[in-house]
Symmetry: none
Subunit: 217 residues, 4 copies
C-alpha cells in the first residue's frame, strides 16, 4: 500500500499538507463551508467535530481523511478570508484619490467581505482571542495589525489633509469604526432586504456626518 500523505502532526503543530498536495477537492470545500458555518454560529469550542460530521452526513472519524485536525479547519477558513481581505484593502489604498474616498471604500470593502466570507469574518471576530493563544495562529495577530495600519494610515492622511477634523483621535476613531463595521457581521442577513451595499452607504454617512440634523449641534 502506497502511503501518500503523512499527516502525523502532533496536535496544534503546523498544518501538514492535507491529502495529496492541495485543497482542491470539492468535498473538502463543502466540509469547510459546513464547519465555518458551525464555528460562526456556535463558536469554535462550542462546535464538536461530530457536529460537523453529522451535518455533512458522515462519521466524525471520516473528517480526518480530509483534514488533519479541527485546528486545521479553522486555519484554512481564516487564511482564505485573510488573504482576500488583505488584497482588497491594498487595492483600496492604491486606488483611492483622497481620504474621504478611501474611508468610504474601506467600509464598502469590509461589508463585501462580511457578505462573501460571513462565517470566516465572524470566526475572526469571535475566536481570535482564543486562537492566538496557540503559536499556530500567531498570524491572526499580524493580520489584525495590518488591518489596523491600513485604517489608521487613511485616517491620518485625511486629518493631515484637513479632510477629517483636526482634533480627531486616530486610535479611538479607528476602534470606533472597526467595532461598528465588523460587528455588523453578527446580525447581517445575506438574504435580508438590507443588502451589504446599502448598509455600507448608511454607515459611511453615519461615520462622516453623524446622526444630528443639520443646524443642530
Amino acid at each position: 500500500m502506497i502511503v501518500v500523505s503523512t499527516k502525523r502532526v502532533s496536535a496544534r503543530g503546523r498544518a501538514a499538507a492535507p491529502e495529496s498536495g492541495n485543497g482542491g477537492s470539492e468535498r473538502r470545500a463543502e466540509l469547510l463551508a459546513i464547519a465555518a458555518d458551525l464555528f460562526a454560529t456556535s463558536g469554535f469550542q462550542g462546535t464538536t467535530v461530530r457536529e460537523i460530521a453529522d451535518t455533512a452526513g458522515i462519521l466524525s472519524g471520516s473528517l480526518y481523511h480530509h483534514f488533519d485536525s479541527k485546528d486545521s479547519m479553522v486555519d484554512e477558513i481564516l487564511r482564505e478570508f485573510l488573504e482576500y481581505q488583505q488584497k482588497a484593502y491594498d487595492d483600496v489604498l492604491r486606488d483611492s484619490p483622497d481620504a474621504r474616498t478611501a474611508i468610504a471604500e474601506l467600509v464598502r470593502c469590509s461589508f463585501r467581505a462580511i457578505h462573501r466570507y460571513r462565517a470566516a469574518v465572524a470566526i475572526f471576530q469571535n475566536e481570535s482571542g482564543y486562537l492566538t493563544r496557540f503559536e499556530r495562529f500567531d498570524y491572526l495577530r499580524k493580520a489584525s495589525a495590518d488591518i489596523e495600519r491600513t485604517w489608521k494610515r487613511v485616517l491620518e492622511d485625511g486629518r493631515r489633509a484637513g479632510v477629517f477634523r483636526s482634533d480627531l483621535n486616530i486610535k479611538l476613531a479607528y476602534r470606533f469604526i472597526r467595532d461598528t463595521v465588523w460587528t455588523a457581521v453578527h446580525w447581517y442577513n445575506p438574504r435580508g432586504r438590507m443588502t451589504a451595499g446599502v448598509i455600507a452607504e448608511q454607515y459611511i454617512r453615519f461615520l462622516c456626518d453623524g446622526i444630528m440634523a443639520p443646524g443642530q449641534e
Copy 2:
C-alpha cells in the same frame, strides 16, 4: 451595594441550593469576581471550573459549596449587571430633557457599565448567543430587547423632534451605536490613560457629528 439574584431554579439541572450557601458571604463575591474575569477573558466554555478554583486557591469541588453549578455562576454575574443596567437606563429615560441629552447620557451610562461591570458586559456580549440556547437564560433575550427598546425610543423621539436627521434609519442607527459602544468593552483598559468618561465623550462626538472636518461633506 447591589443585592444579588441567586438561584432561581429553572432548567439546565435543578438548582439545588448549595449547603448553607447564600447570597451574602464575601467569599462568594470574591469567587464570582474571579469567575467573571475568566469567563470574560477565555469564554464561558473556554473556562474550566478547575481554572476558577485554581485561581481562587481551592479545589474545584469546593466551588460547589458556594454555587450550584458553573451555570449558576454566570447567571449570577449576568443578573447583577443587568439589574444595574436596566435601572440606569430607566433613570436616563426619566431624567433627560431632550433626545440629544438622552443619547449622550445613554452612551455615558453604557461606558460607566463597561467600567464597573467590565467582565459581565463582556460575557453578556460574547456568550449570550450560547447561553440563550438554554431555557434558564431566556432572560438574556428579554434584556437585549429592553436595551434595544430604550435606544430606539430615544432615536425615534429625536427624529420626530427634528433633533436627529429626518432620514435616519432607526434600526440601523441603533445597531451602529450599540455595536460600537458595547464592543469597546473588549479593549477598554480600566487602568489606561483614556478613562471611560473620556472615551464616552469622544464617542458622543463621533456619533453626533461624524469625523469630517467642518465644511467638508
Copy 3:
C-alpha cells in the same frame, strides 16, 4: 432472538444516538450482558461505568460509542426482558384451560424468565423503586401493573370457578405469590442442581397445597 428496544429518547438527558451505534452489533450485546450482571450483583447505583468498561476490557469513554448513557443501558436491559415477559404471560392467559393450569403455568413461565433473564429480573426487582423516580422509566410502573393484573385475573377466575378457596384474599394472595416467586432470582443458580423447572414444580405444590402433611390441619 429478541429485538431490542433502543434509544427512545425521553428525560434524564437527551438520548443522542451514539455515533454509528445501533441495536444490531454483537459487541453491544456483550457489553449489555456485562452491564446487566454488574447491575444485578452490585446494584445500578453501586455499579460504576468504569467497572463495566474494565470488565469489558475497554475504557469507560468507549462505552459511549455504543450507548448514550448508563441509563440507556438499564433501559435496554429492562425493555428486552419486559417485552419477553409480557408476551409470555399473554400466551399463558390465552392457552390455559382452567385457573389451576393457569397459575401453574404462570409460575413456570416466571421461573423460565428467571433463568433466561436472570440479571434483568433482578434489576427489575431491585431497582424499579429507584428508577421510577425518573420519567424515562415510567414504563416500569406500567409493566408492574400489567403483571399484577395478569395474576389477579387468574386468581379471581379461579376463586369464582371454585378452584381456589372461596375466602381467598386476592390482593394478599397475589403479593404472597409474587414475592416468593420473583425473589427467587436472588438465590437461583443456573448451574445448580435444582433447575428452574424443578423449583417451579415444587413452588406450585407449595402454593396449591401448602406444607402440611395430609390429615394435619
Copy 4:
C-alpha cells in the same frame, strides 16, 4: 478543653464509641430514625449524608457530632433490629410445643418485626448484599445464617414428626417462606387497613394449606 471522645476511626473501621459512652441521647435516636427511613426508601448508597441532615434540619457536617460515619449509622440501625430479632426467634423456639405452632409463631414474630423495625428490615433485605462486602458488616452474614438455622430446624422437626409433608424439601421450603414473608416489608403499610397481625394469619394459612379449595387437588 477536655477531649471526651476520640472518634478517629479510619473509614469503615470498627465502630468507635459514639460521643460520651453510649447511644443514649434523644437527638441521636431521631437522627437514626430519619436515616433509617431514608436508607429504606432510597437505598443506602442512594441516600446522601446531606439528605439525612437536610431532613433533620441541620448541616451535613453536624451529623458527625453524633456518628462517626454513614456506615456507623446503618450499623447501629441494623444491630438494634438484629438483636431484637434474634431474641424473638429464640423465644419462639423455646416456647413452641410443636412445629405447627412454631412455624406460625415465627411468621407472626416476623411480621411484628416488619411492623416495629420496618426501615431496618427493609435495609437488611436490600443492603445486606452490598454491606457484607465490608468486613465491618460480616455479622450480617452470621445473622442471616442464624435466621436460616432457626427456620430450618422447625421445618425439619415438623417433617420428622409427621406434621409437615414427608417429601418436603427443607431448603426450598425455607426459601419459599423467607422470601414471601420478609419481602412483605416492601409493601406493608403500618397505617393501612391490613394490620401486620392479620396479614400474618393469612400468610400462615397460605403456607400451611395453600390456595386450593378443599377437594380440589
